[in-house]
């Protein structure tokens, strides 16, 4: 991927709750300067993995290293270097925002003279300077989330672990926070979990999809989309040729598994061709159109959204190794 040092190394990490494998032997690395999106349906094991990376829970098997330190054996060293936003932002509701941030910076051993400066710098970005004097329990969900983000970043950690950082924010705030995370991702290492797919495409350099505790995909968002949907093509013809005839000819082509006629306007014919594997059929389709004198209007490889990739990969049954991207 690149030459940056690996900041987070997850190696066959497993967590059992009784007999239930919440996280099942997942492995991935995150180099410095990468924003990794952690994707999966509810209960897939995202939060459990994050709790292990932040030393709140201990892995049942496998290991994880953060900044070169083992999360089990060198937990204090790990915790000094991370900023963590847990799911649901559990802050002390009885404290004032400023009081709470003072407390966090003190616990984080930020030198006394720098505390207010740090709070101001991060607080301006997260937009909480106007609520410093308010009680956390009186804040709206969005503001509490921003205070949570502030406490995760106020000590300038190398590694940020954010469990659903944009939940509860309004669309404008979401854009701001995404920008902030992208900005931070240049120098730091960020893992964020989400089930908002556009967020991954907007913020993350790389995405890891887990389902039922297993890793089912790992790659750049665009690569995942391209890889997963390279098997569908679409042609649009001007009306004229007999539909059944076209269909028969398409079905006879090598590697074609299925041909479907899509509903289209009355003066056009549209077909979707599914192939048996990763094979670029566009050249052959063009040739077929020329040979048969079909008036070809459009020809493309179907680009599906990350939503579809996600839906396909996280269907209940465990995926075969073939779906596991490098």
């Amino acid at each position: 991927m690149n030459d940056a040092p690996v900041m987070i190394r997850v190696d066959r990490l497993t967590k059992l709750y009784g007999q239930n494998r919440a996280v099942n032997a997942i492995s991935f690395d995150v180099p410095r300067g990468e924003v990794l999106g952690f994707l999966g349906p509810n209960g897939a094991g995202k939060s459990t993995t994050m709790k292990m990376l932040t030393c709140f829970l201990t892995p049942t098997a496998g290991r994880a290293e953060v900044a070169g330190f083992d999360v089990f054996a060198q937990s204090l060293e790990v915790r000094r270097r991370i900023g963590y936003l847990p799911e649901d932002t559990p802050l002390y509701r009885d404290m004032l925002v400023l009081e709470y941030l003072d407390y966090v910076t003190e616990l984080r051993r930020v030198p006394a003279g720098e505390r207010r400066g740090r709070i101001k710098r991060i607080g301006e970005v997260t937009g909480i300077m106007g609520v410093l004097g308010k009680r956390i329990g009186e804040l709206s969900r969005g503001f509490r989330q921003r205070v949570g983000l502030t406490q995760a970043m106020v000590h300038d950690p190398d590694i940020l672990i954010l469990d659903e950082p944009t939940s509860g924010l309004d669309p404008n705030q979401i854009v701001e926070i995404r920008e902030l995370i992208k900005e931070l991702g240049r120098q730091k290492t960020v893992i964020l979990s989400t089930h908002i797919l556009p967020e991954v495409e907007a913020t993350c350099d790389r995405v890891v999809i887990i389902s039922d505790g297993r890793l089912v995909a790992d790659g750049r968002p665009n690569d995942l989309v391209a890889r997963e949907h390279a098997d569908k093509f679409r042609i649009l013809l001007e009306a004229g040729p007999v539909a059944a005839e076209v269909r028969g000819k398409l079905e006879a082509m090598a590697g074609v598994r299925h041909v479907g006629q899509d509903p289209s306007e009355s003066d056009t014919l549209q077909f979707t061709i599914t192939t048996d594997g990763v094979r670029d059929l566009r050249r052959e389709l063009f040739r077929a159109a020329v040979d048969n004198q079909w008036p070809l209007l459009e020809l493309d490889r179907k680009e599906a959204s990350l939503e579809e990739v996600f839906a396909r990969l996280t269907k209940s049954e465990p995926q075969t190794a073939g779906n596991k991207a490098a």
Binding site: R80, P90, E99, E106, L107
Partner: protein
């Protein structure tokens, strides 16, 4: 120590931001003062505080777990424990800091009873030795009950369960001393010696012996160590 102190400061703030400390301390002052002055203090007509300190072993059985119940259970319930324990802090520092805060709340309660002592001293010659000894003894006795309450609080995310566990253990210890005379010539003295109330009666006479202090400090130490283990149990493989 530094980290524990930071945590203790926050906890102390939390106590006085919620009604808990005020309610519990008010109850403590009303019951202890009421039993003392409206009990047989004026009938006996002696300028001593024996009557006041006499109720402590039983009264604190109820007061101390009520002070300690929120310490860890509240954070477990709200989930804030996750944020706390993913900070660079040791579990032992968390437990110790929280314990320290509870102890300070108890100390505030005891300081607020100083007017009782001053009142007695106005009415007659008050021997300051037993009074000072008893205050120290009360702090140690209450400190032991607080450690038990903290242990109860470490075990659950429900504060009601926490306080009931604390009460049950403290009450059992109190009963152990209370009933020791009925336990026969061999077991009886052992149970008596092991009871916090008996140790308290020794200190309350105004003679502070090292072994009584050691008794309390060990009891507190044992409870805190178990509480730390309970907190760390989430990490057991």
């Amino acid at each position: 120590m530094g980290t524990s102190w930071i945590i203790a400061k926050r906890e102390l703030g939390a106590y006085f931001k919620s009604p808990v400390a005020y309610v519990v301390l008010s109850l403590f002052l009303i019951i202890s003062g009421g039993l003392f002055f409206f009990g047989n203090f004026f009938i006996a007509g002696n300028a001593t505080m024996d009557g006041f300190f006499g109720v402590m072993p039983l009264l604190l059985v109820f007061i101390c777990p009520a002070i300690a119940m929120r310490l860890i259970a509240e954070e477990r319930g709200s989930g804030s424990i996750e944020l706390l324990l993913t900070m660079p802090v040791r579990d032992s520092e968390v437990v110790f800091g929280k314990y320290l805060a509870a102890l300070m709340v108890l100390a505030v309660g005891l300081l607020l009873t100083l007017p009782f002592a001053l009142t007695v001293a106005k009415l007659g010659p008050l021997d300051s030795g037993p009074v000072l000894g008893s205050y120290l003894g009360t702090l140690l006795l209450g400190g032991t009950y607080l450690a038990i309450g903290l242990l109860g609080s470490a075990m659950t995310k429900n504060q009601v369960v926490a306080v009931i566990v604390g009460w049950a253990i403290c009450m059992a210890l109190w009963l152990m001393g209370f009933l020791s005379s009925a336990a026969g010539p061999v077991l009886g003295p052992v149970l008596q010696y092991a009871s916090p109330a008996y140790q308290f009666s020794k200190i309350a006479r105004g003679v502070i012996e090292l072994r009584n202090v050691v008794y309390y400090l060990s009891a507190i130490g044992v409870c805190l160590v178990i509480a730390i283990q309970v907190l760390e149990s989430r990490k057991w493989r």
